[in-house]
Amino acid sequence: MTRQEIEQEVKNVFHREFEIENPDMDADLRETYEFDSIDAIELLLAIENFLSTEISQEEKKQAINIRTINQICDYIEKIAKQRNLFSPA
């Protein structure tokens, strides 16, 4: 899995679940797209599916205050690296 694949999958999730196309990678999700905590949980579950791995309670708590899509990608990359799923492009 590469950073590019991660970014593409996050964009797919945004399109599929939140009907947002070409989201701004650095925009504040709460302010720009009116994201709430339930949306954040939805995103976490989509990430679990994408990585085919269970995310622990502690890891989920770390993710809940993420603000931007770039931060989401960083978070996925970190988890993927911890589980040896990440390969640099």
Partner: protein, 253 residues
Amino acid sequence: MPLVRFFQRIPDLLVTLILWCYFLFGYLFILPLLFIPAYIFAENGAAALQNLNHFHLKCFFALTRFLVPRTTFKISKDVRDIHSSVIVCNHLSYLDPILLISLFGRHRTIVKHTFFKVPIFGRLLKNSGYISSGARDMLGPAMINNLEDIKKHLAEGGILFVFPEGTRSRDGRLAPFNKGVFTIARYCNAPLKLVFINGTNRLFPPGHFLFNTHEFNEIKLELIGSLEPDYKGNNFSISSVADETRKIFEEKG
């Protein structure tokens, strides 16, 4: 016929006073004597409070059946047998949540956050494991803790009932669905049971203070669908599950 209407209202008023007195006095004076020891000494305080609440409201509906014989209750066995599931219902009257509590000993639900501010009652709600709809209670790590609690509760055989419309329907039509309930079900990997409620709005109409005791009425709870979405599937989408659920309710309504 204002005179006839006036005389019709007298039993309505009497029944309303008796029922709400039982409801309120139970919470204020009788149940605290049981709630406090149950919460302190029971192994699972929240479960003990849920069971007491369930018993209190079961008595409330037994009293309702006795005082309002023109209203009958038809609750199918497949509704009574639901466990370890998220129940999705339409919402017609204030009676809906208390009717569901009277049916399920181990239950949880999402309660309007303003109720949590009511002295004593708010505390009881919190200690019973009910979840506030307030944004502050569903933020950050508290959100994950709440969801993990619900997951455990469902795994132990309990149910979570939710009204995705968020508020009572004034005209019987379905309001837009909030998708949060489907996210909770997905988080808990729980099946969805769709329960259609009918008739509670005729016994206790929204916007009215009095029970309607003079009309013949049937309150019916029916299981109209069971969904077990493939939450882990690559093409899983919350929106599709929400749409499918809504379609089943619309077909029924």
